[in-house]
Symmetry: C2
Subunit: 175 residues, 2 copies
Amino acid sequence: MATTKKTAKTETKSLEDLFLDGLKDLYYAEKKILRALPKMAKGAESEEVTAAFEKHRAETEGQVERLDQVFELFGKSARGKTCPAIDGILEEGSDILEEYKGAPALDAGLVAAAQAVEHYEIARYGTLIAWAEQLGKPEAVELLKATLDEETATDEALSALGEGGVNERALQQAA
Amino acid sequence: MATTKKTAKTETKSLEDLFLDGLKDLYYAEKKILRALPKMAKGAESEEVTAAFEKHRAETEGQVERLDQVFELFGKSARGKTCPAIDGILEEGSDILEEYKGAPALDAGLVAAAQAVEHYEIARYGTLIAWAEQLGKPEAVELLKATLDEETATDEALSALGEGGVNERALQQAA
């Protein structure tokens, strides 16, 4: 939240400030996702959903490294800034893990929760790419695009999992 | 959060429960977005960003009505369920309004915040469509698809606004 001290400076805040705030938001988000994915992988019923979360966990490590590099390109140390959006999105994933434990619909709910995470990242990386272009930072654009491509591919893979059997299995009533 | 009482029932939870939980989540989200958009419209610097938020506010009213109809198709009364994800995403929009007030980058930040909202909705409507198909509810699918198309078009319109001048104006340093 803005403090009185911050407000005094707002009028000089330009696109680079906005970009760096967004970068810190994503840095916090990626690190939090890195901690959440093993819990989701462990909680999933089916091997294919577990494998999808484990694969994305490994990818996320590389995405954090790319963010480190983008901070460097802007001459800044990498650091996060609390991101209430990802906190809320991941909280919904934890709720699914608790409320659907042992239920036929658990994996369908986990896949959906992961897609909400992916879409948040797709929105934020898309924005940061547009801003990095405007700021004349082509190397940052390339790094961010590499991650955006991975997030988009992950979202598509999750849709395919849902439609490829996970949603159908969720239809079953438990015995 | 799951309570002990809820846990006792989890094992019977199937895809329809998950669908209805998701519907309540979106109902809460749309109603909250309906209250947030006028503040964002009023806070924006440029007429074009204000107009985009006002247009989407009008659209959102229709989206709430479609959700009412989907609840009816499932024989349920429309009601919301607190959605920490949209709470967090909208909190980030409020922070932009405060922290960038009077700054050249304000509108670029607001457009980005609105795109995060759209992407959350795109993820959730996409999921509900897949589940409604699986549940054999073609009328619900049609209603949800009509809204998904609007959300996707809004996201694209916001990207075009950003790239069509809003991001460039954010580059200016205030005098």
